[in-house]
Symmetry: C2
Subunit: 164 residues, 2 copies
């Protein structure tokens, strides 16, 4: 069995672990690229879609920081993302009673309408993608990814270049 560092035949390693990890990595990249393309007629990126989805389904108004935490987006990145989305009329920043430091972010009417157009097609698309897997395999993937995420989080402190 050939082990690949990346996606074609020119380079191969002998490390099944590495291959598995790179598999998750590359698949994630592919999914991101595809999603970006999927939304490109309506939104500048899949990140904007994710933001809108989080806003739509949030159980309470979210601040920029809370949004960033959920989506693993840095606060300095959130500022620009929301600037562009605000400029495009997709979201609004509302001042918050009692804390003049932060905003509550909400979907605008335009944003809601665009989300209505793309949400279901995207869900269908994902449904179709994932239909290559059985119920049991889907559960496997869910469990494996959860464990891998936990392992990554646990290694956070032991990185190569930590000065601690």
């Amino acid at each position: 069995m050939e082990k690949k560092y990346c996606h074609n035949e020119l380079v191969s390693f002998e490390d099944r672990d590495h291959e598995a990890l790179m598999g998750v990595w590359w698949t994630g990249i592919l999914l991101k690229k595809q999603a970006k393309h999927f939304f490109s007629n309506f939104l500048s990126s899949e990140v904007q879609f994710n933001i809108m989805m989080v806003l739509k389904y949030a159980e309470k108004p979210l601040t920029q920081s809370e949004l960033g935490e959920q989506l693993l987006v840095d606060k300095s990145n959130i500022t620009g993302l929301l600037d562009r989305m605000e400029k495009a009329g997709l979201i609004r920043r509302l001042s918050v009673d009692g804390d003049r430091r932060c905003y509550h972010i909400e979907l605008s009417e335009v944003g809601r309408k665009i989300l209505e157009k793309v949400e279901q097609p995207y869900r269908n698309y994902i449904k179709k993608l994932m239909s290559v897997f059985s119920k049991k395999e889907i559960d496997d993937i869910n469990r494996y990814m959860a464990r891998l995420e936990k392992a990554v989080a646990a290694e956070e402190s032991t990185a190569f270049n930590d000065r601690s």
Copy 2:
């Protein structure tokens, strides 16, 4: 069982398929972030590490296009990446006999030395990360990711906004 669109408790869907796909997505993002941090003392990104690994293990000299294909990096992106890496003394562009359009990219001595410093620690790091999985589970992940990649590729033509 709770289904999450993203990483915390504020938003939840009822879609196990979607959750699995998002799991791969998020885990990929986490891996990228961690890797970037891992290399940050020596390289400006994990992408540069990947480029150097491909160059080291390639069986023949690679052009910019070939490099880009392997790493899923757009040709317009490769130009800038290699510009920065060349400026940092990590790689060289060599003119190619008989085709004045392209370059062969090779690791410089400096690049080779830096790679020597970071490659084994990174491999160990990955080994440790993946040690939470059994041999059988590693094989599962490899198979699942390969199938998911294939499914993604197969859907490429049916994207929401195709004008075909």
